[in-house]
């Protein structure tokens, strides 16, 4: 129990510091600015917790102090079981109390009338939680976790209970609390007053629910349009992705390398850039439109601006993701099954339709779901191409920033959007239940995939080749567009857009970043570089816990995490501003809110990657490490992390890239001080400065390629030779685990 005492001592010191050494409440100009130091500790704004109780008339903090002292008193006890119980109770109660007081007491006293009538009015309210309150929350969470560990939960492993508790705490604060606030926000004004009429009015708005396009009078509501678009995009990108996967794995296509390369491009492309390039091609003054008009006299139309244009842009944008999902699925169909089918006198077509395709079904459903959700969540393309035919995500944006300024409408639209994506997610989970054909078995599966039926072979080539050419043209436009004076009017080459965005001048021997883009560029880099490792760490830790540990409520935990993958960025954005604009947690306008947004938005992908990689590692490796006297933390550091290098690289790169390219959530959260590249570019597009916007976008793409290559060199390739061996040994151990009786199967199931 010595170890237990040491960690408890640290916790008690930390808690004492939270009460004595740092301001209890939020510092307006930032805690890390240290502007509070001169006034500390006596001024009411910056006083620590203990003084807030004693001399600033905030007696409720004394309850937190009492709970903390109860938890700390466990240090004097020796019986592990009752000591653990005391810590767990004090910790749990502490967290709940801090949350409750934060929500119940705001700037000017009680936030709710019911508490005011029960407890009587307060002499004064409180600002948002600051360093002291936040630290104490974490201390309480850890009290709870260590208490459980001492009672033998998770085999007495404090590292695991601590990780699980902190993760649940963080996910609650940064995912569920904002979503909850959004639901509350739908019946509130920005100042927090109760106003349900907004909800009722918006719920009944024909602009949302009208079925006019079917009944024949006018347009359909935005909800139906968005749904229709998402279904079409899901279908389109799944079919394209499948065609690509088939070409890449089952044909003698000569440019397979190029195929893989092309698919990386859209991932590192900011989402609205495709839309932008499409306008350059097919817009009113686009190259192709003008050429057609000159050659055949076809009147330049506005057909691109609307669902059709958005659909094309989205299929272009999301096919690569669907391709990445499906290539694994197509490769996963065991060749021996196809060979078996052929020896059973089935031809190529029959084999493909009756064996291969049904085995890919779960993968196809997954690809469709991703396309569907990405389409729902897409913000950049509809913003550029939507014109007057907005979709839910853009409508949400305009409900907040436009002249409407109707938070209730934004919340209602966000709830509708969330309902769509979550329904799709649940439907897929439900449908896939028990349909997971693990066709990659542990046994060495030799044999070759059979060739595609001739007709299908032509078909997939017919889809893939034009798409590749189209993509090359689109990206050519992006590069070229940055060097043209005014698109559609004056096609003379110039570098003035780059100069405007990225000029540097030397004055007084120092570099002056005079370009307009530098400010947002450096902010973006800074925030992406901070959030990438955090995302990877949180994601992989979560994956480790999901794959390797068993605890009560684990399925709910996993489900909730995966569900957050289905929450569109716009919804996250709107929920963050509704949640973190008022006490108890105030973060809007800070870099912190952007980082939190990226970490919890991109984490599910890190989790998925981590789960996939971790399932490849035989569990007996961890167990061997544990029986060799290494605790979980050491096992993680020495055994699991080194073997997970590829997954770590992937998570780092992905979260980094997403932090740079994402727009939907970010556009709500940026501030004058912390503006991100994407939202800046959108601003340029809205002002019609296409040249600069495109120059900036090309620069971002270039920078991302450079940094990804750098990441690869840093983490990835060095141990690849050994990693391959891991992959080689994993099947052997997998096939063994089946013979060890129910205990092991129970664990791995």
């Amino acid at each position: 129990m010595q170890n237990g005492n040491r960690r408890l001592d640290i916790l008690i010191l930390l808690g004492a510091a939270a009460f004595l050494l740092v301001p209890w409440y939020r510092i307006d100009r930032g805690f890390f600015g240290l502007s509070w130091v001169p006034d500390f500790p006596f001024s009411s704004n910056v006083a620590p917790g203990l003084l807030q109780i004693a001399s600033h008339d905030r007696p409720w903090i004394a309850i937190a102090l009492l709970l903390f002292l109860i938890g700390a008193s466990a240090r004097l006890m020796t019986n592990a079981s009752s000591r653990g119980l005391l810590m767990a109770i004090a910790g749990g109660a502490g967290v709940l109390f801090l949350a409750a007081q934060g929500l119940a007491i705001s700037f000017s006293g009680w936030a709710w009338t019911i508490t005011e009538t029960v407890f009587g009015p307060l002499s004064q309210g409180q600002p948002s939680m600051g360093a002291g309150a936040v630290t104490l929350s974490v201390v309480f969470v850890l009290f709870f976790a260590f208490g459980l560990a001492e009672r033998g939960a998770m085999k007495g492993d404090a590292f695991i209970t601590g990780s699980i508790s902190l993760l649940i705490f963080l996910v609650t604060v940064f995912v569920f609390y904002p979503i909850g606030s959004m639901f509350a926000g739908s019946v509130q004004d920005f100042d927090g007053s109760f106003r349900p009429d907004g909800l009722i009015r918006n719920m009944q708005d024909p602009g949302i629910w009208s079925l006019g396009c079917i009944t024949g009078d006018g347009r359909c509501g935005v909800a139906w349009r968005t749904l229709w678009l998402a279904v079409m995009t899901g279908l389109g990108s799944t079919i394209m992705g499948l065609a690509f996967a088939l070409v890449a794995t089952r044909t003698q296509f000569p440019f397979k390398k190029g195929l893989r390369l092309l698919t990386v491009l859209p991932i590192i492309t900011p989402p609205f850039v495709i839309g932008l390039a499409l306008t350059l091609l097919f817009g009113r003054s686009g190259v192709i439109t003008e050429a057609l008009s000159a050659l055949f006299g076809i009147e330049p139309g506005r057909w691109l601006y609307g669902l059709t244009g958005i659909w094309i842009a989205q299929v272009l944008s999301f096919t690569p993701i669907s391709f990445l999902v499906l290539i694994g699925v197509v490769e996963g169909v065991s060749p021996s099954l196809e060979e078996a089918s052929q020896t059973l006198r089935a031809g190529r077509w029959k084999t493909f339709l009756k064996v291969s395709l049904p085995l890919m079904k779960p993968g196809l459903a997954n690809a469709f779901l991703i396309g569907f959700i990405e389409s729902m969540a897409d913000f950049g393309n509809p913003l550029v191409l939507g014109g007057s035919h907005g979709v839910l995500s853009t409508e949400i944006f305009f409900a907040v920033v436009g002249s409407q300024n109707d938070p209730s409408r934004a919340a209602v639209l966000a709830m509708i959007l969330l309902t769509f994506t979550l329904t799709a997610f649940m439907a897929q989970r439900f449908w896939l239940k028990g349909k997971n054909y693990a066709t990659v078995t542990g046994k060495g599966d030799s044999g070759a995939h059979i060739a595609l039926p001739r007709g299908l072979n032509w078909g997939v080539h017919g889809i893939v080749v034009p798409w590749m050419i189209f993509t090359v043209i689109v990206y050519g436009m992006i590069i070229f567009g940055g060097f043209v004076k005014t698109w559609g009017l004056d096609h003379s080459l110039t570098i003035e857009h780059y100069a405007k965005a990225f000029s540097i001048s030397f004055a007084d021997g120092a570099i002056a970043w005079t370009g307009v883009a530098w400010n947002s560029f450096w902010t973006t880099m800074e925030i992406a570089l901070i959030s990438a490792p955090l995302t990877a760490a949180v994601g992989l830790l979560t994956a480790y816990i999901i794959v390797r540990q068993k605890f009560a409520g684990q399925n709910a935990f996993e489900f909730a995490l995966m569900m957050s993958f289905a929450i569109p960025g716009t919804v996250i954005g709107i929920s963050y501003i509704l949640a973190f604009n008022l006490p108890p947690l105030e973060m809007t306008g800070s870099a912190l809110i952007l980082i939190a947004c990226f970490v919890f938005r991109n984490m599910p992908v890190g989790v998925r990657g981590g789960i996939a990689a971790m399932s490849q590692l035989d569990k007996s490796l961890d167990e061997a490490s544990l029986t060799l006297r290494a605790n979980s933390a050491r096992t993680m550091r020495k055994v699991i992390l080194p073997l997970l290098r590829p997954a770590i690289t992937a998570a780092l790169v992905y979260s980094f890239v997403r932090a740079i390219t994402s727009i939907s959530a970010v556009i709500f959260l940026v501030s004058a001080e912390y503006n991100m590249a994407t939202s800046y570019i959108v601003g340029l597009v809205e002002n019609g400065e296409y040249g600069v916007a495109i120059a900036y976008s090309s620069m971002l793409i270039f920078v991302m390629i450079t940094i990804i290559a750098g990441f690869q060199m840093l983490v990835g390739e060095r141990r690849l030779r050994r990693e391959n061996r891991v992959a080689g040994t994993a099947p052997k151990t997998q096939s063994n685990s089946g013979t060890q009786g129910p205990s092991v199967q129970e664990k791995t199931a």
């Binding site: 006297r629 050994r722 061996r725 060890q740 009786g741």
Partner: protein, 353 residues
């Protein structure tokens, strides 16, 4: 390496549930220090769960586990004085053999150089001196297995746990390695708990065999006791194949019982049986088969397979179908031959219950 303080192991009314499934209902077991005890049983019998609870990889739902007299029921795996050899060896693929062996020593707080020295010693102990720089993938199956043993042994645990350590080796190597493990155990004198589903392996290495079935101990004892005096038809059949046939005990006298199978009479050790109906376990090698000559039990050969050093028959008799291995016959009897069955003096046991 020679400073083992072998520890005893005690399970006191241990129960283990996985959700609604009860793997071990109520297990009590004592293992003497310095002995090698095998947990033997078919898959799903709870032997691996028992071992994993001892290692601290599973925690019992109720009951107590003591190692060397100390209650370890709630201790996590890394604080227990046991170490384990895994079925898959679980060698860390990104570490060399030496790093693998040194891993546990470093985890226990030994400094890098010291740990390396002890690890070298440990590798030498299993005959792998000078191979330390190799990665697991560069070692043969048998060498990997020895690295796994060395890695567990250098920690000088009170109890060494082995989870089907031979199942990934080919048959020939298996025999050699099991002899090596037994030698090592007797030379160094540590307590070992060995899980296997192979009764030959169990008979070859054990001081005591514990046969488990459905989470219960079906029988435990010295290898010879289990083979020669099985307590149930399950044990008789599991410890080397046996034909279990109904018989009647005619009389018991001086520790020997006269039993009757059909019209065949035979004397076997009584193992506490009383006159009445009982069961007889007849090893396949304890049956003599000859062309019908009037004496013995009448039967007919159903199948006959020639296997080089012996012939296998299935013989239909009034007491049921018997599986017979015959090491004496020079000309195999073809199927459908009418035969007479005799019982040899050894390899026949009366099942008490």
């Amino acid at each position: 390496m020679t400073t083992f303080k072998p520890g005893s192991v005690v399970f006191e009314h241990v129960r283990k549930d996985f959700g609604s499934f009860t793997a071990i209902p109520d297990l009590s077991l004592t293992i003497e220090p310095g002995t090698l005890v095998t947990l033997l049983g078919p898959s799903g019998c709870g032997k691996t769960t028992t071992l994993r609870m001892l290692a601290g990889l599973e925690h019992p739902t109720s009951g107590r586990i003591l190692i060397g007299g100390k209650d370890v029921t709630m201790l996590p795996a890394h604080s227990r004085d046991v170490s384990m050899v895994f079925q898959s060896y679980a060698l860390f693929p990104h570490m060399s053999a030496l790093e693998n062996v040194a891993y546990g020593l470093e985890s226990s707080g030994l400094k890098g150089k010291e740990a390396k020295e002890k690890a070298e010693e440990g590798l030498a102990q299993v005959g792998l001196a000078g191979m330390g720089h190799r990665l697991p993938a560069e070692l043969s199956g048998g060498q990997q297995q020895r690295v796994a043993v060395a890695r567990a042994l250098v920690l000088e645990p009170q109890v060494l746990l082995l989870d089907e350590p031979l199942s990934n080796l080919d048959a020939r190597l298996r025999r050699r390695v099991r002899t090596e493990i037994r030698e090592l155990q007797q030379r160094l004198g540590f307590t070992a708990v060995y899980v296997t589903h192979d009764q030959d392996e169990a008979l070859a290495v054990s001081d005591t065999i514990v046969v488990m079935k459905d989470g219960h101990i079906a029988q435990s004892g010295a290898p010879r006791d289990l083979y020669e005096a099985p307590a149930s038809s399950f044990i008789a059949d599991f410890m080397g194949e046996a034909n279990v046939v109904p018989c009647s005990v005619v009389s018991v006298e001086g520790g020997m019982a006269l039993v009757r199978v059909g019209d065949l009479e035979h004397k076997v050790p009584s193992s506490g049986a009383r006159p009445g109906s009982a069961q007889l376990a007849i090893r396949p090698g304890a049956v003599g088969v000859s062309e019908r000559n009037g004496s013995g039990l009448a039967g007919k050969v159903l199948t006959s397979a020639y296997l080089g050093d012996h012939v296998e028959y299935e013989v239909e008799t009034a007491a049921g179908t018997l599986f017979v291995t015959d090491h004496t016959v020079t000309t195999p009897l073809p199927s459908q031959t009418e035969v007479s069955i005799n019982l040899r003096p050894r390899g026949i046991a009366l099942i008490a219950a």
